[in-house]
């Protein structure tokens, strides 16, 4: 119990430090980076809840981020804007205009509900079959978002989402996600689920209902991801379904994998590292584009570097930077050793 508290304090402190530092510097760019960092943290922690505890790779999470973002957008776009932004919206939704903060919570629930319904039968599958179905689920969600014009404005950009996310709100949500991820990991469900990750048959033999356990983790993950999506929507204020597809899946996945999917610490550290690398590489791309090194615009450099880093990590340290132990446990152990020796 004690080391979980240490883990929360260290990681939470890291988040607060990043936010405070970004505010002290007082440059708008850093404010944006810190907000993005906190939103990514929410998404990555969501993915960690499912992937880390169940050991099953899931591609579908970006789809639930999209569900959250669109749900919140539909609920909050001012009534007079809706005629323009969503011309085909169903009449009963036209008058709805919630406060963005209420809408974020509601859209998290919507994403969790969608996840609960579609994933219930899928949780029986393991290994490659589970991965392919999650990939299929991502494609289904993306296709639906691209073509359900009444709710999403189709493949076109949806605009007019009220701006409501600032760095403090994003940090608060990230902290809550952190707390929930640690709490879930240490809960009965989390422990049984991790037992099933390490040995499916042995866990089933001691009476763990694996599909049921995975289902709970998946719903919790979708809840985070939906809220994260809504936060992002109210931050960026206009987006299209393309924001919730393979490229973003790759980014979130690289954060989790580089840090270490099995630990909450890994998820947080990976998000920090990849966000730092991503922003500096994007900056470099911008500089190269302005310097007109080549005739063509420089794009894709960031992804190439991230892909190489991800592959290098998986070859050298398959579990990521923090493969098994949380930072709290590591610190507590070091402290104990010092006491013993001193």
């Amino acid at each position: 119990m004690k080391h979980n508290l240490i883990t929360f304090c260290v990681l939470g402190g890291l988040i607060l430090l990043a936010v405070v530092a970004s505010q002290l510097v007082g440059i708008r760019l850093y404010d944006r980076v810190a907000t993005n960092l906190c939103i990514s943290l929410t998404l990555v922690l969501g993915l960690q809840v499912f992937m880390g505890n169940s050991g099953i790779l899931s591609f579908a999470h970006m789809g639930f981020m999209g569900v959250g973002a669109y749900a919140s957008a539909v609920l909050t776009i001012p009534a007079q804007m809706k005629g323009m932004a969503l011309p085909d919206l169903y009449p009963f939704l036209q008058g709805v205009q919630l406060s963005p903060y209420v809408a974020m919570a509601v859209s998290g629930l919507v994403a969790a509900m969608v996840a609960a319904i579609v994933s219930y039968p899928l949780m029986r599958l393991s290994d490659a079959a589970a991965v392919i179905t999650s990939f299929a689920l991502l494609v289904v969600l993306y296709t639906v978002m691209t073509h359900w014009s009444a709710l999403t404005n189709g493949p076109r950009t949806l605009f007019g989402v009220p701006k409501a996310t600032d760095v403090y709100l994003a940090a608060l949500v990230a902290l809550l996600a952190l707390l929930a991820a640690i709490a879930f990991k240490e809960s009965r469900t989390g422990k049984l689920l991790r037992a099933s990750r390490d040995d499916e048959r042995a866990a089933a033999a001691i009476g763990a209902r694996i599909p049921q356990l995975r289902w709970r983790a998946f719903i919790l993950a979708a809840l985070f991801t939906g809220i994260g999506g809504a936060l992002w929507g109210h931050f960026i204020t206009s987006f299209s379904p393309r924001a919730f597809y393979l490229k973003e899946t790759f980014l979130i996945l690289s954060m989790l994998v580089i840090g270490g999917a099995n630990t909450v610490t890994g998820a947080v550290v990976g998000t920090f590292l990849v966000t730092a690398a991503y922003e500096s590489l994007r900056g470099l791309e911008g500089v190269l584009n302005e310097a007109k090194v080549t005739n063509e615009p420089v794009i894709g450099l960031t992804e190439i570097v991230l892909a190489l880093a991800m592959m290098a990590i998986l070859v050298l340290r398959p579990g990521g930077l923090f493969p098994t132990r949380e930072v709290g446990a590591l610190l507590a152990r070091r402290l104990r050793r010092q006491e013993e020796s001193g």
Binding site: I132, V140, V298
Partner: protein, 296 residues
Amino acid sequence: MTFAIQFLIDVLSLGGAYALMALGLVIVYGILRLVNFAYGELIMVAGYTLFLISGSPLPWLVMAAVAVLMAVVAGIATDYIAFRPVRAKSVTAVLITSFAFSTLLQNAALLFISPRPRVIPLPDLFSRTVEIGGAITPMRNIVTIVAAVVLLALFALLMRRTVLGIAMRAAATNFTMARMLGVPANLIISSAFAISGFIAGVVGLLWMGRIGTVVPGIGLEPLLVAFIATIIGGMRSLTGAVIGGFVLAFIDTSLNYTLPQELLKFRDAFTFSLVILILLWRPEGLMRGPASGQRT
């Protein structure tokens, strides 16, 4: 009658392409029980090779052969870079490295070539049309059917009659046992990747012949098609993959003819929901593969 012939040609040519796509994916999956997410990029490699050498005075067939060869090389590279170093460690790790490798290749094409579509050279044959029993159809459909039949026959011969094919089938059935009997594991796996690259290269040429251009994201659709077809047919059965390809082509073509425009947009969502349902109903696919042994 004309309509029936038209429909048949559509199903057979689309199905031939789909069956080949599925076969290329399943040949690796059958042995390693691992999905190669970078499979679509092998098609992309073939396309860009064709684009890059399009200025040369070589005859088209030579250029096509070079393109297919590059896809084979890329297939073997996938094994060495994304699979071999992590194969023994964890299933999830391999899936992620192959996903990362696919992202790597796509973005390399974005960065070093262009995000915009590039025109690839095609022989006149591809743009001609031909009349069969009153139905007018593009020549490339007939080329696709012929190529699919020839390749599938060659492939069947390879798997049944040659030492390599028999060793590969043995490895797919029981990898550990096959190794104990002296089948060299790495060689078999690399050969599977090479064959996968060869099939991807050929099917890539046929596939890109429909549009005449190549873009960095071209591999996604063939990858998705291969997924659906292998799942319909059975993830571990080579025959199943071919049947799955034709079944999927039949479903797609029928939906194209019957669904109203309004619902046709959701076709991908329908077919992928179908995949999910089939996996739930029979996780092994419609055709059962050989009895499963342990993966290395």
